[in-house]
Structures are given as structure tokens and as C-alpha cells.
Amino acid sequence: MTMVTEKDINEQIAWAKINTDVLKSMENPRPAYWITLAVCLAMVACAVLAEYIQYTVGMGTAALNNPHMWDMYIAAFVFWIGMSHSGTLLSAILHLIHADWRKPIYRFAEAMTTFSLLTAGIFPMIHLGRVWNLYWVLPYVSDRGIWPNFRSPLVWDAFAITTYLTASMLFLFVGMIPDLAICRDNTTGWRKKLYGILALGWVGSDRQWRHFRKIYLLMACFLIPLAVSVHSIVSADFAMSIMPGWHITSFPPYFVAGALYSGCAAIITLFILLRYFFRFEDYMTLPIMEKTAKLTFAIAMVWTYLNLIEFASVWYGHDVYNKELLIAKATGAYAWIFWTMLFCGSVLPFALAFRKLRRHMPTMFVVSLFLNLGMFFERWMIVAPTLSMSHEPHQWDIMYGSIVEWAIVFGSFGWFGMLFLIFVKVFPSVSMYEVKEMVFHRKRSAGEEDLARMTDHAKPATQTTGGGGGA
């Protein structure tokens, strides 16, 4: 697709080195890793305290009120669901279109998917007034003969999210099996036991590989429509209502685009973090970063386009309430958030158009953070303004949430970070076997046919006799 002026990865890198590098990452990261983890844990602690207060005293502590029945929790929920999409994008879509530069980075992206889903899943519980009855949302046979209301988008959410979570977890796990085998063969103690169980007796026989390829391909195909449907359904939470600013036809694609956008931005952030934590300079290389950045830029433009479509359709549409709201968004009390969102979402991405910036890690780090800030504001601007001024002017109100609410929302970032950091420490965050494939293919495309020499140097660890690790 792109004319590579510079190699995505150094194909001279030996397979054994790949193993050792990655396996090392699971042992001694830079101290920065521990600091970050500590920060995350602290944030989680605050959130737990806040939630305890809210649970015992009442939802009112989140400063929710009559017009603002929903607020930051729903915004955060949508944000985290969105975050989960790019993982699928990288691992599944790019897999199908054989963009092999994804290989070194898709593993942690996939993990990101799973954990952001786990984070998102918490918010409905935090948000519910009587969480102990949450299970009423699920259809189960009871002698009362009562059922959830299948017309409610919230029920669709429940189905969609649980399905997506299961699927993406499986996808993550299945894709990891060969690597787990390598870990199994190169570790001792509890880790060996753990990986042993998880590797499901992988020995890398041709038969196993055949099946593995098939199932991985199938799951990729299955996951893509699922990912699209999930965020469409989340958008239905708003689009199915009659509220101005919510009842908009272009919401599903708009949400999906936004999701991929925030996801890619998050990938860049984590890319840079991992690269630093685990000294992955050889694998998470600048060219790959560039490709990711370009991808992000493209999606940003799609998102911008859909934004404009929404504005246009509202502006030229007949719905006076909708138009009134749009104007209020741009000029009213929430204007500063609205414009920040548009700046971060549509203007800032142009930074990614410059090669110099794309290759300058600190810049990219900051930019990616701001992109995500923009995306969070977007979600906020979807939920809050509509409620603050809907049809009934008597109930108009502006609200910025309370300390409790914000503590919980920030805490969710800590929660995500905690899960993610623990994962990358316990499991290989770079797919070893796929990087090896990548190197292998690059070599071939570079015309070097002496596979013999290479296999002499180190048997592919995938024919597992623990060869690589020890060498």
C-alpha cells in the first residue's frame, strides 16, 4: 500500500533475539512502568471511595438532577466502548487485508480492546439507581413470566456488549496461543504452570497451525461486523430517543468513526509507553508509528466529515428544537467544550500530516492525548447539552457534575491502566510468532532464499523444543 522508504522492521533480526527481547519485557521493565502502575492504583482507590459514597448515600451525590438524568457516566461509557474498536481494527481488518506491519503492535491493541470493554461494562452498574436488580435486564425464565423490554436500546446494549466482550477476549486468547507455548517453554514456577494451562498443549504441529490459521481467520471475519454493530447499538441509546440532538440518523456511522478515532489515538499513546517501558525500539519502529499515525489521520477526517454532515442535516432540517440546540451548543454555556472538541478532533490531527512530527515521540504522545481529550468531550457534548435544554424550557439547567462523579470517571482511566499494565507484564505484549513471520516474509520479498541458514541459526521457536530461549 505505501511505498516504504524505510524498513518497518530490520529483517536481519534473529528469531532467537525476538524471543529473548519479548520474554525480557515480562521480567524487568523500566521503573517508569511501576510508577505508572502506582498512579493507576491510586486513581482506582479514589474511584472506589467515591462509588462507595454514591452507593450508600444516593445517586444525588453525582449532582444528577431532573434535566440531567444522565451525565458523565454515560459519556464515559460511550468513550470506553469506542476505545475498544481500534483493537479490532488493527487485529482483524488489517489482518484480512494483509497489512503485516500491524503484527508487532496488534497484540496490545487487542488487549486494549478487551480491557476498555471491561471498563465500559462497569459504568452501567455505577449509573443504575438499583444496581442489585441489574440482572432484570437479561431475559431469563422465571415463574413470574416477566421479561425485559425488548424494545429498549439498553437491553440491546446488554446483548451487544456481552457478545463483543466474549468474542474479543477469545480473539485475544486464540491469537496468543503460540506465544503462550513459547512462554511455557521458557519459564519456570507458577508462570510455567499458568502458560502451560493456557497454551492448551500447543506443539506447533502442521495440523495445529492449519486449524489455528482457519479459526483465527474466521474469528477475524466474525469480529468486524460485530464491532460495527456494537457501536451502532450504543448510538441507538441516543438515536432511538426523541430528544433534540440525539434523534439523528447519522449517529451509527458517526459513533463508529468516533470509536475508531479515539481507539487509534489511544494506540499511539500506548505504543509510545510500551516502546519506552519495555525497550521495544526494534519492534515498535518509527515507520510503524508513522503508518498508525496516517491511519489515525484518515479516520479523523472521516469523523470530521460525519460531524459536518450532522450539523448540515440539523441546520437544514425542519426540527426547530434540534437547530436551537445546535446553536446553543456553539454559543451557549457549553461552547468552550464544544469548540475544544472540534479543535482537538478536526484541527489537531493535521499535525499527523507532517513527517517530522510523526517521528517525534514526545509530540506524538501529547497530540494523541489531546485527540482523546477531544473524543471524550465529544461524548460529553452528546449527552449533556441535549439534557440541559430539551423541549421543556421550564426545566432547562446547566450542570458540570460533582466531585464524586469526576472521581469515578477519572478512576475508570486508572482501572483501565491497571488492567492493561498488568496484562503486558504477564503476557507477551508483542506477538513473537507473527513478528517472526513478518521478518521471514520481508526476507523473502527481499529475495534472500537461504532459509536454510536462517533455520540453522535458530529453529523457529514455533517448533517448540525450547530452542530459541536458551540460545
Binding site: R130, W132, M389, H391, P393, H394, W396, I398
Partner: protein
């Protein structure tokens, strides 16, 4: 239902389906999983035919939340009164009830009610037994002589009033101070002089047009429900009535006016004279019955002069006056803000004169007839008695005073120096339900039963359509056995003085029943037996009284020429509001949480000003201001409304209690305290609406510190059709009215 029912047996079934009390329905599952044998269920000792557990029964009684005396129905279930509604048989309430009446149950079930007699010992009130309290009382009342004893009450009527008078006689005293902040004493005086009747029937329903000079007849007034019902008829008549409201602060009634005119406070008399001038000289109505001095006075007020003084546009005045002649019969009313001026009597007389000129007397103002039981008629309160009382107290003329149904320590302006003067009164007795300011200042406190636990009768002063005696009966067993009904306490006092006369009555119930039996057959509308009459009375809650027809003649009295006060500053309007009223309902949470009808403020005090006036002083909406008179100053938030005259600042009454229970204490401020002690020269009524104040900006706006309902969109409908409006011509076409 049979005579006096043993209501104690009511309580016995509580807990059956009184479960609403026991636990809340929708909490954690734990509270809804039921275990057998955890809850107790009481059964009757004796079956009561008229009580079925789980079925609500309605009993008739009378509301005493204000002096209007509306007939009510109370829903009683498992021995608890749950809900009050208007009694359709009562001509006063017509089956309706205002917010204050609805909240009566909260006064009855109030957590801050006094539960035991208390006596002051060593500075503080300490609980004592009834016997001790009564013995004390007897001793003290025995010691005091003649006029050094006094009763201080609110408006009292019915048999309580009769007993009270008898007790005064027995004490050889003539001092009965009746005090109401919300009163129409000046109008009564004017009516007495012009019509020969203090309380004629005002037939709003017969009027085709009403011009109201600050008469908030649907708000905090003499009989809000009754006049609201009449207003409804007035509006739905074949020819829709037209309401013109002329006042300096938009009242609840003003909010519903077709034309609301802001007038410079204190110039209503000028406007009235100006209108009279137009009627007599321009429209050439007859000036019969108008004294010459008044006639000359009228002539001296031509329209341009009037417009200049009052600030009401001349063409407006002419149009309204014109309409008054076209839409006859009309009705011209004078309200509290007019009466409460240093020239209150003159102003009110000038306004009443318009009715005379327009020939409304006899048409929309009818005679109340001759009430056959003068001793039962309402002894209506005013503020003159408050002033007189303060004087007497200062002059050390009083040794022993019994307070009931009024809270002078709260309502008296500081300038009267009542608080200090109270110290001169040797022995102060308070018959009270709540620990209000006056009760806290008393030496002996007698806990009173709520009106839902008590027997009695009320004779409403304002009875627009027909006359009746309202019967008040207990709707449930006393919440606290220690409390005594007002009637019972009066009877006990009388027994102490005149054993031979009142010894025969076991309690007030016995007295009342006896009194009913003694009533002439004319009111017993062919009841066969006394029991039947008694039961009928309890069932309907009303005893209709035929007062006979009597036609009304009016003669205009001569009154002083209006003097317009042009001194600097603004006029303070301490306006009472339907809800907290004069402050007596500040301890009812429902009424605290119900927004003020015009400004929509809850749980607080505030000042109302016109935006232009505020702008001149650099005051922003919801800003903090200091309102000061020569007597003192208060600091509070200001709400800017165009429904104000530029020269007026209004501070609604009701808040600023220093006692009076958890809901009232420490909320807001009390504007009454900074009033001048000025009085109306003719009637001696306190001129509440003539205090001049200055307003200063103290702090910036802070929306958090004053709570208003639903002002997010700035009181605007933002182009939606929420409250649709339609020109009357269109309605005439579509609905043929």
C-alpha cells in the same frame, strides 16, 4: 354515625394496612422479603360498625389554618387522618381547599408540637403536670384584678368566642386584644360607616368587571378559597368578567389580571378621586349622597394631574373608567396595601365611594343580613389591637395575659417595643401547639390539641353567598394525650371562676352538644330529635342559618384629602403570601417547598424590585442587598421583576423565625421588624405599607444562595406553545360567550 364515637378504638387497627407507615416499598430486596410473625396486628376490642379496616371514611370538620373557616372533609383510615379536602356543603369552601388547608395535616402531625405543659422556672421552660399548671393558673388568675387581665388572640369565633367573652366577664376585664397581620380592619371600618355593615357580601360572581386596588382576594386575604370559587364564576359567566388590578407589587391575583397597572405606592386615593372625577364630570353620573367637601375634593383631581401623581397613564385611567360604566354591575375593591397606609381610611373610603357612584351597592355588594347569634360572630383581629396592647404593656397596665392563636412577638414591629414590654407583664400564659416566639417568651405554656383533634364551631366573617355555622369535630384520637383542646381549656378556666354555671359540663364536647340542643328550631331545619340535629350537623359539618334578606344603602362619608409622600427612598411592602401567610405556616414543609407563585422562590426570604430601579443602584438580579429603614435593616437576596412599581420594594412575609421548630427556625428574615410604628389616623391600624426604606447593594449575584423553581430559560417559553393565549373576541365567536 352515633353520637361521640370512641375514636381510641380507631387506633387499635393500625398496622393492618397502615403498612405504608411500616416500611418503604422499593428498597433493597431485604426489606420486601417478609417473614411471618414480625409485624403485630391489633384487633378491635369492640367492633365499630362505621369502621372497616382498609376502607377510608370521610368526616366533616372546619379548617382553622386561617380565619376564613372553610368547611373540610378529612379522610380517616385506621384511625389516622390522611388527607383534607373541601366540604361541598360549606358555602365558604365549596368543596375546594387552598394549599394552606391541604397542609393542615402537617401541622397536626408536626414533629415540633408541644407535648406537655411547661412552666418557667429559673429562666427556662420545664415540663410540669396539668394539675400543677392549672393550679398555678387558678392562683394567678385569682390574684389579678379586672382590666389588669387580658386575652391576646387571633380571630376567634363560634362557641370558643362566646366562652372567651364569658371568661373575660367572669374576670371582670374588657381587654380582649384580637390581632391578625392579614386583616381588612380598615375596610370594615369604612363599610361600617358607609354601608352600616362591617362585612357585607362581596358578589364577585355577579360582577362583570372588577377593579381591584391591591386586593389580593385570591391570595393571602380574608377567604382565598371562597373568592377563588367566585372568581371562577366571574370568569365563566356568559359575559366573561374583566379583572383590572392596580397595585405596586404584583400579587397572586394580579398575576391573573387582564390588565395589571403599576401605581406609585400611596397614591391610590388620588387615582380613585381621579376616576370619580371622570365618572361625575365627564360621564356625568349622579353625585347623589356625596358630601360637598368630598365633591370639591373630587373636582380638584383632573386626569392629567392624577396621571402625573400616580404614574398611571391617563388614557389607561380613562379607558378603565369608561369600561366600569359599560360593564355594570362592577365591583371596586380595596386591599391590604391600600388599607395599610397612614391615610388608609381615607384611601379606602375614596375607593369604596366608586362603588357608590357606580351603583354597585346592592348589586355586587349585598347585605349580610342579621346573624341570629351575635355572641358567636367572629371577633376579627387587626393591628390596632397590637399597638394598643404594646402601649398597655409598656405602661405596665397588664399583669396577666393569655395568648392564643397569635404570635405578637414575631409579628410586632421592633418600633412598638413589644419584646421589651413583654417583660412588664407579670404572668404570661400561652395556649399553643408549637414553640413559636410568643410561646417561648411565656411563663406558662399549655399544649393545645390540633384542630383535627378538637371540637368547636366557627362563624366565618366573610360569607359571600349564605350564612352558616361551621362545625369542627375531631377527625382522630389525640396524637398526644397530654394536649387539650382550646375549648376544653376555656371551659376549665370558666369552671375555676363560675363552678355553679359550668360545672355541669364534663368537657367542651358536652358543652357544645348542649349548646346545639339549645339552638332555636329555625336552624335545626326540621330535624326530628336533638340527636338527629346533632348527627346531621356532624355529618354535613355545616349549620345553615337563615339571616333574611336586607337591602343595602350606602352613604359616602367625608374623608381627608390625600397627602402624597414624596420623600426620598422606596416604599417597603411587607406582602403576605398564600402559603406561609403571615408566618404562621413557616413550620409546614410542604408550604416551604411550594414556590412563591410569582417569584418562584422556595425556602427563603427575598426582596422584589423593578429592574430599572435596581439598575440605577447597580443591583443585579439575585444580588445581595441591604434594605434599611429608620428602625433597622435586613440583608437579603433581591429578585428583579417587572411586576413591581419603580418606587416600591417588596419583602414577602413568613420567614425569619427565631423559634417555631426545625422547618421555620433560622430561615430568611422578617420584614415586619423594620416597620415604622406609624398608624392610620382614623382607625389606629398599623400603617404597614407606608415605611420608607433605602436599598443598598451589598454583594454580587450568587444563584446558589437563593433557590427558585424552573428559571433555567429565564421565565420564557422560548417560542413553544406552552401557555397558549387567545383574544377574547375569538372566544366570543367560537364559544358564543
Amino acid at each position: 354515625m352515633s353520637g361521640k364515637m370512641n375514636r381510641r378504638s380507631f387506633l387499635k387497627v393500625m398496622g393492618w394496612s397502615g403498612a405504608g407507615v411500616a416500611l418503604t416499598g422499593c428498597d433493597m430486596p431485604t426489606t420486601v422479603t417478609l417473614e411471618e410473625g414480625k409485624e403485630e396486628v391489633m384487633s378491635y376490642l369492640m367492633p365499630e360498625e362505621y369502621v372497616i379496616p382498609g376502607v377510608g371514611v370521610w368526616y366533616a370538620s372546619t379548617c382553622t389554618q386561617c380565619a376564613a373557616g372553610c368547611g373540610i372533609h378529612g379522610r380517616v383510615r385506621e384511625g389516622r387522618v390522611l388527607k383534607l379536602e373541601g366540604n361541598p356543603d360549606s358555602a365558604v369552601s365549596n368543596g375546594k381547599l387552598c394549599m394552606m388547608g391541604q397542609a393542615g395535616v402537617q401541622g397536626h402531625y408536626n414533629p415540633d408540637r408541644i407535648s406537655t405543659p411547661m412552666m418557667r422556672s429559673g429562666g427556662s421552660l420545664t415540663p410540669v403536670s396539668w394539675d400543677k399548671a392549672l393550679a398555678m393558673l387558678e392562683e394567678k388568675l385569682g390574684a389579678v384584678s379586672g382590666n389588669r387581665f387580658a386575652w391576646f388572640t387571633g380571630t376567634v369565633s363560634g362557641h370558643q368566642s362566646a366562652l372567651l367573652t364569658n371568661h373575660l366577664d367572669a374576670m371582670g376585664s374588657t381587654n380582649h386584644y384580637a390581632h391578625e397581620v392579614v386583616n381588612n380592619a380598615v375596610s370594615r371600618a369604612v363599610n361600617q360607616d358607609m354601608l352600616g355593615e362591617a362585612n357585607p357580601r362581596l358578589r364577585l360572581d355577579k360582577a362583570k368587571m372588577i377593579v381591584s386596588f391591591g386586593a389580593d382576594f385570591m391570595g393571602a386575604s380574608q377567604s382565598p378559597v371562597q373568592y377563588s370559587v367566585q372568581y371562577a364564576k366571574f370568569r365563566t359567566n356568559k359575559e366573561r368578567g374583566l379583572l383590572v388590578q392596580i397595585e405596586s407589587k404584583m400579587s397572586l391575583t394580579g398575576g391573573s389580571a387582564d390588565l395589571w397597572l403599576a401605581i406609585k405606592p400611596g397614591t391610590e386615593a388620588v387615582l380613585a378621586l381621579g376616576m370619580a372625577n371622570l365618572l361625575l364630570n365627564k360621564i356625568k353620573l349622579s353625585d347623589a349622597g356625596i358630601p360637598s367637601d368630598v365633591r370639591t375634593l373630587i373636582n380638584s383631581y383632573d386626569i392629567s394631574k392624577v396621571a402625573k401623581i400616580t404614574g398611571v397613564a391617563g388614557d389607561r385611567i380613562q379607558r378603565v373608567t369608561q369600561l366600569l360604566t359599560e360593564r355594570s354591575p362592577s365591583l371596586v375593591l380595596a386591599g391590604a396595601s391600600v388599607e395599610g397606609q397612614t391615610q388608609g381610611y381615607a384611601t379606602t373610603a375614596a375607593i369604596m365611594m366608586l362603588n357608590h357612584i357606580l351603583g354597585n351597592v346592592g348589586k355586587t355588594i349585598e347585605s349580610a343580613g342579621d346573624f341570629p347569634f351575635p355572641q358567636l360572630m367572629a371577633k376579627q383581629g387587626g393591628t390596632a389591637d397590637l399597638v394598643a396592647f404594646a402601649e398597655a404593656a409598656k405602661a405596665k397596665k397588664l399583669d396577666t395575659v393569655i395568648f392564643h392563636g397569635s404570635n405578637p412577638v414575631y409579628t410586632a414591629p421592633e418600633s412598638l417595643g413589644l419584646t421589651e414590654a413583654m417583660a412588664n407583664i407579670g404572668f404570661k400564659v400561652a395556649i399553643s401547639q408549637f414553640p413559636d416566639e410568643t410561646t417561648m417568651a411565656a411563663d406558662l405554656v399549655l399544649p393545645m390539641s390540633s384542630y383535627l383533634e378538637d371540637w368547636g364551631t366557627q362563624v366565618p366573617a366573610d360569607q359571600a353567598e349564605s350564612s352558616a355555622i361551621q362545625v369542627q369535630q375531631p377527625l382522630m384520637e389525640k396524637l398526644n394525650a397530654e394536649t387539650k383542646g382550646f375549648g376544653d381549656i376555656l371551659l376549665t378556666l370558666l369552671k375555676q371562676r363560675k363552678k355553679e354555671e359550668y360545672g355541669q359540663f364534663e368537657d367542651y364536647y358536652a358543652y357544645l352538644r348542649n349548646a346545639f340542643v339549645a339552638m332555636p328550631t329555625s336552624v335545626k331545619n326540621d330535624a326530628q330529635s336533638n340527636d338527629e340535629f346533632w348527627n346531621a350537623a356532624l355529618q354535613t359539618g355545616v349549620i345553615k342559618v337563615d339571616v333574611g334578606a336586607k337591602d343595602l344603602q350606602s352613604t359616602v362619608v367625608s374623608f381627608a384629602a390625600p397627602v402624597v409622600d414624596d420623600s426620598a427612598g422606596l416604599t417597603l411592602m411587607p406582602s403576605p403570601r398564600l402559603g406561609l401567610f403571615d408566618g404562621r405556616h413557616a413550620n409546614l414543609p410542604w408550604l416551604q417547598e411550594a414556590p412563591d407563585q410569582i417569584s418562584k422562590v422556595v425556602w427563603d426570604s427575598w426582596a422584589e424590585m423593578h429592574p430599572d430601579t435596581a439598575a440605577k443602584m447597580g443591583i443585579e438580579n439575585l444580588g445581595l442587598v441591604k434594605v434599611s429603614s429608620v428602625q433597622g435593616s435586613v440583608t437579603l437576596r433581591v429578585v428583579l421583576l417587572k411586576g413591581m412599581h419603580a418606587d416600591a420594594v417588596a419583602i414577602p412575609l413568613g420567614q425569619g423565625h427565631e423559634a417555631y421548630g426545625r422547618y421555620a427556625k433560622g430561615l430568611g428574615i422578617n420584614p415586619l421588624h423594620i416597620l415604622d410604628a406609624a398608624t392610620d389616623d382614623k382607625t389606629g391600624e398599623l400603617a404597614m405599607y407606608s415605611t420608607r426604606v433605602t436599598v443598598k447593594r451589598v454583594g454580587p449575584p450568587d444563584s446558589l444562595s437563593i433557590v427558585r423553581m424552573g428559571t433555567g430559560a429565564g421565565d420564557s417559553q422560548v417560542g413553544r406553545k406552552l401557555v397558549g393565549t387567545v383574544p377574547v373576541e375569538q372566544v366570543r365567536r367560537t364559544e358564543g360567550t
